[in-house]
C-alpha cells in the first residue's frame, strides 16, 4: 500500500493516519461501514428468526415443558397440598388436619370439573384414584367431623398410606413422573423407583423397536441405494439424468399416494399376492399377509426413504475420479479388492450423510407406520399420537416426545459434525 492517499480533490496528502473524504480517519469510517453492513444483514434475518421462534420453537419448548408441569393437585386441591407438607411419618396415615383439608377442597370443588381432573391425574399414578375421587367428591358435603374416620369409613382407599403417598408426591407444581412412566418405571410401595410389572412394560420395548426398525430401514436403503447410485455415477450424463428421474419421481410423489400404493400392492387381495397366485407360486388359500404388520412398515418406509440415501451417495460418487480404481487394478488388485479397498472408503462421507439422514427421518416417522404398520409395525410416534388424541395423557405424550426430540437433536448434531448442514442439498 502507498503511504499517501488521495484526498477529495485528487492531490496527494502526506503520510499519517489515513483520512477518508469526509475527514474521518479511514479506520473509523471502515469500522462504521462494517457495523452497518452487519446490522443490515442481521435485520434481513430477524423477521424469519422471530417467525420461527414464535410459530415453532416456542410451541415445542412449551410442549417439552408440559412433560414436567404438574398443576392439577396444587390448583384443585390447594388446602390438601398445603396441609400434607406437615405429614412426616410416611408409614402412618396423615393426621386429621390433612383429611379435613381434603374434605374442604372436595366441598369447594363439587359441581366443577376440578375433581374429575385431579382424579384423572392421580389415576395415571395409581389406578382406582379416579373413581375414589369421584365418590369422595359426591359424599363430601354429607361427611361429619372427625373427617379421618368418616372418610375411611366411606371408602377404605383413604385408609391406605399408599393413597396419601401419591397425593403427597404429586402435590408439587413440577413432576418427573411422566418421564418415569415413559421409561416403564413406577414408584414402588416404599416410594422407590422400580420397573413396572413385565406385562405392563411398553415404552422401553417401543423405543428399542423404533431404533431397531430404523436401523433395518437405514441398512436396506443403503443396500438398495448403493448399487443404483454407483450405476448412475458411472453413466454418461444423458442416461444418468434419465435414471435420476426414476429416483426423483417417487421423491416428489405424495407420501399418502406411495403409502396407499403399498397397501394396494401388498394386501392379501392385492397385486403381488394375485400375481403369485396367478403364476402358481402360491395357492389361493395361502396368500401372505404382507401389510398391516412390521413387514409393511419396513417395505413402505424403505421405499419412501430410498431417495434420501441415493441423492447424497450419488453426489459423493460423482466426485470420485475413475482413475483411482484403474490405478488399483493396474497395481494388481482384482476387481473386488479395488472396489472394497479403494472405492468404498471414498464413499464413506456419502454413506454417513445418507445414513444419518434416513435414520433421523425414520425414528420420528408417523404416517406410514400408522397406516400400514398394524399392531407390530407401530413406532414411538404412533404412541405419542395415541396419548395426544385418544388417552389424552398429554404429559406422557410430551415426555415421550421430549425423549424422541433429544435423540433426534443428538443425531442431528452428529450429522452436522460429519457433513455440515450447509452442504444439505435438495433434489
Amino acid at each position: 500500500m502507498a503511504q499517501a492517499t488521495l484526498s477529495g480533490d485528487g492531490t496527494a496528502v502526506p503520510a499519517g493516519p489515513m483520512i477518508s473524504a469526509d475527514g474521518v480517519p479511514l479506520k473509523v469510517s471502515l469500522a462504521r461501514a462494517e457495523r452497518r453492513k452487519r446490522l443490515t444483514a442481521f435485520f434481513l434475518v430477524v423477521p424469519l428468526l422471530l417467525f420461527i421462534l414464535v410459530t415453532f420453537i416456542v410451541p415445542i419448548g412449551d410442549m417439552a415443558f408440559n412433560s414436567v408441569r404438574n398443576p392439577e393437585v396444587v390448583t384443585y386441591l390447594p388446602r390438601t397440598a398445603e396441609a400434607i407438607r406437615t405429614w412426616e411419618d410416611m408409614d402412618e396415615l396423615p393426621g386429621e388436619p390433612v383429611y379435613a383439608a381434603l374434605v374442604a377442597d372436595l366441598q369447594a370443588g363439587s359441581g366443577t370439573p376440578a375433581i374429575g381432573r385431579v382424579g384423572a391425574r392421580l389415576n395415571y399414578e395409581q389406578s382406582g384414584m379416579r373413581s375414589a375421587m369421584q365418590r369422595a367428591g359426591r359424599a363430601a358435603n354429607r361427611l361429619e367431623p372427625p373427617f379421618k374416620e368418616a372418610l375411611i369409613e366411606h371408602d377404605p382407599t383413604w385408609g391406605q398410606v399408599q393413597t396419601w403417598r401419591v397425593i403427597d408426591r404429586e402435590s408439587s407444581p413440577y413432576t418427573l413422573s411422566y418421564f418415569i412412566s415413559a421409561l416403564d418405571l413406577t414408584y414402588g410401595p416404599d416410594g422407590r423407583i422400580v420397573q413396572v410389572a413385565p406385562e405392563q412394560r411398553i415404552y422401553v420395548e417401543l423405543f428399542i423397536r423404533t431404533f431397531w426398525l430404523s436401523i433395518i430401514i437405514t441398512s436396506l436403503t443403503l443396500l438398495l441405494g448403493f448399487p443404483i447410485a454407483f450405476l448412475m455415477a458411472h453413466q454418461p450424463a444423458r442416461i444418468a439424468n434419465l435414471l435420476m428421474i426414476l429416483v426423483l419421481l417417487p421423491f416428489w410423489t405424495s407420501l399418502l399416494v406411495r403409502t396407499s400404493s403399498w397397501i394396494v400392492m401388498l394386501q392379501q387381495q392385492g397385486v403381488l399376492n394375485d400375481l403369485m397366485v396367478l403364476t402358481g407360486v402360491l395357492s389361493d388359500a395361502s396368500r401372505i399377509q404382507m401389510v398391516y404388520n412390521q413387514t409393511g412398515t419396513i417395505v413402505a418406509m424403505t421405499h419412501i426413504l430410498l431417495p434420501f440415501m441415493v441423492l447424497p451417495l450419488y453426489s459423493v460418487m460423482k466426485t470420485i475420479p475413475p482413475s483411482y480404481m484403474r490405478a488399483a487394478r493396474s497395481l494388481g488388485a482384482n476387481q473386488w479388492t479395488a472396489f472394497w479397498r479403494v472405492y468404498v472408503p471414498q464413499t464413506t462421507a456419502g454413506i454417513g450423510a445418507g445414513g444419518v439422514l434416513v435414520f433421523i427421518i425414520s425414528i420420528g416417522y408417523y404416517i406410514t407406520p400408522a397406516l400400514v404398520g398394524g399392531q407390530t409395525g407401530q413406532m414411538i410416534s404412533n404412541f405419542i399420537a395415541f396419548h395426544m388424541q385418544r388417552s389424552l395423557n398429554w404429559g406422557l405424550a410430551a415426555a415421550l416426545g421430549t425423549i424422541l426430540l433429544f435423540a433426534v437433536i443428538l443425531l442431528y448434531y452428529l450429522y452436522n459434525r460429519i457433513i455440515g448442514v450447509d452442504r444439505l442439498k435438495l433434489g
Binding site: L48, P59, S254, V264, M265, V271, I384, W394, L405
Partner: protein, 283 residues
C-alpha cells in the same frame, strides 16, 4: 462404465448381474407409482387387476372413481382448502425465507451457524413433535382449527427449504454486480429488484415450489391442528385409507402423481435456466 474388452467370464457375468439387480431396484422404486395409475380406471371396486383389465377389455375400465371424486362435496372442499393453505404458506415462507437467505449469504452475518441451526430446525424435528407442540400452543392462543393457524404452521415447515435453495443460488452470485449497480446510482431496493432478483429468481421459485409441495403434501400437522373446516386433500386421503377405503383414493392419487410430475419438470427447467444464467457447463 462400459465392459472392458479384456474382461474375463466372471467379470462379464457380474457385469450383467449387476445391471439386472439395478433394474430390479429401479422397478421397486417406480412400480408402486405406476401401478396406481391403471388401477384408478378399474370398473370394479377392487384394488387389484380384474380379468377384464388384464385382457384389455374396455368394459374393465371406467372413469367412475374420477366422477366420484369430482362429485363429492368433501373432496371438492379439500381441494379448495389444500390450495388456500399451500398458497398462503408458500407466500409467507418464500418472502421471509428469501429475505433471511439474503442476510445469511452476506459475509458480515454474525452468529451465522447458530442462526442457521434455528432456521433449519423445522426440517429436522419429527413432524409428530412439531404437531404436538403446535397443537398445545396454538390452542392456547386460539389459532387451532383456523386457516391462519394451519398456514402459519405450514409456512414454518416450508421456510428451511426456501432458505437452503436461495442460499445455494446466492453462493454462486457475483456480488460485484450489486456494487456496480450501486456505483451507477441505484439505491439498494432498486438494485435488489432490477439486478439481484432476476438472477436469483430460479432459486426463489424452486424454494417456493418446495414450500408449496411441503404444505400440499403435509398431513400430520393438519391432523392435529385443523378442524373439519380445514380438511386438505392428504387429510381426506388419510381418512379414506383408515376408514372407508374406496378406489376413489386411487383416482386422487393419480391426479396427485400428475401434479408432482408437473412440479418435477418445472424444477428441472429452473435448474437448467439457473445453470445457464450462471454459465455452468453441463457436464
Amino acid at each position: 462404465m462400459a465392459l472392458p474388452t479384456y474382461a474375463g467370464p466372471l467379470e462379464r457375468s457380474w457385469y450383467y448381474a449387476f445391471r439386472i439387480i439395478c433394474a430390479a431396484i429401479f422397478v421397486f422404486l417406480i412400480a408402486p407409482i405406476l401401478i396406481i395409475i391403471p388401477l384408478s380406471f378399474n370398473a370394479q371396486p377392487y384394488f387389484t387387476f380384474t380379468r377384464e383389465m388384464l385382457t384389455f377389455d374396455p368394459a374393465g375400465y371406467s372413469l367412475r372413481w374420477y366422477q366420484d371424486f369430482w362429485q363429492s362435496a368433501s373432496w371438492q372442499a379439500s381441494i379448495r382448502n389444500s390450495f388456500i393453505i399451500a398458497i398462503g404458506a408458500t407466500i409467507v415462507a418464500t418472502t421471509l425465507g428469501t429475505l433471511a437467505a439474503l442476510g445469511l449469504s452476506r459475509s458480515h452475518m454474525p452468529f451465522r451457524a447458530a442462526i442457521m441451526g434455528v432456521l433449519i430446525s423445522p426440517m429436522i424435528v419429527p413432524l409428530i413433535i412439531s404437531a404436538a407442540g403446535m397443537f398445545f400452543f396454538y390452542s392456547k392462543i386460539n389459532l387451532a382449527q383456523t386457516y391462519t393457524g394451519v398456514i402459519l404452521a405450514h409456512a414454518a415447515l416450508g421456510t428451511p427449504f426456501v432458505v437452503i435453495t436461495v442460499t445455494a443460488t446466492l453462493s454462486g452470485f457475483d456480488h460485484s454486480l450489486t456494487r456496480a449497480a450501486a456505483s451507477l446510482g441505484a439505491d439498494p431496493t432498486t438494485t435488489f429488484f432490477k439486478v439481484t432478483m432476476p438472477l436469483i429468481l430460479p432459486g426463489i421459485i424452486s424454494g417456493a415450489l418446495f414450500a408449496f409441495i411441503t404444505s400440499f403434501d403435509e398431513v400430520v400437522i393438519v391432523l392435529f391442528l385443523a378442524g373439519v373446516e380445514q380438511r386438505t386433500i392428504p387429510r381426506e386421503m388419510w381418512s379414506g385409507i383408515r376408514e372407508a377405503i374406496s378406489p376413489t383414493i386411487l383416482a386422487v392419487a393419480t391426479i396427485l402423481i400428475a401434479i408432482s410430475v408437473l412440479l418435477l419438470v418445472s424444477l428441472e427447467l429452473l435448474r437448467r435456466r439457473n445453470e445457464r444464467l450462471r454459465g455452468i457447463q453441463e457436464t
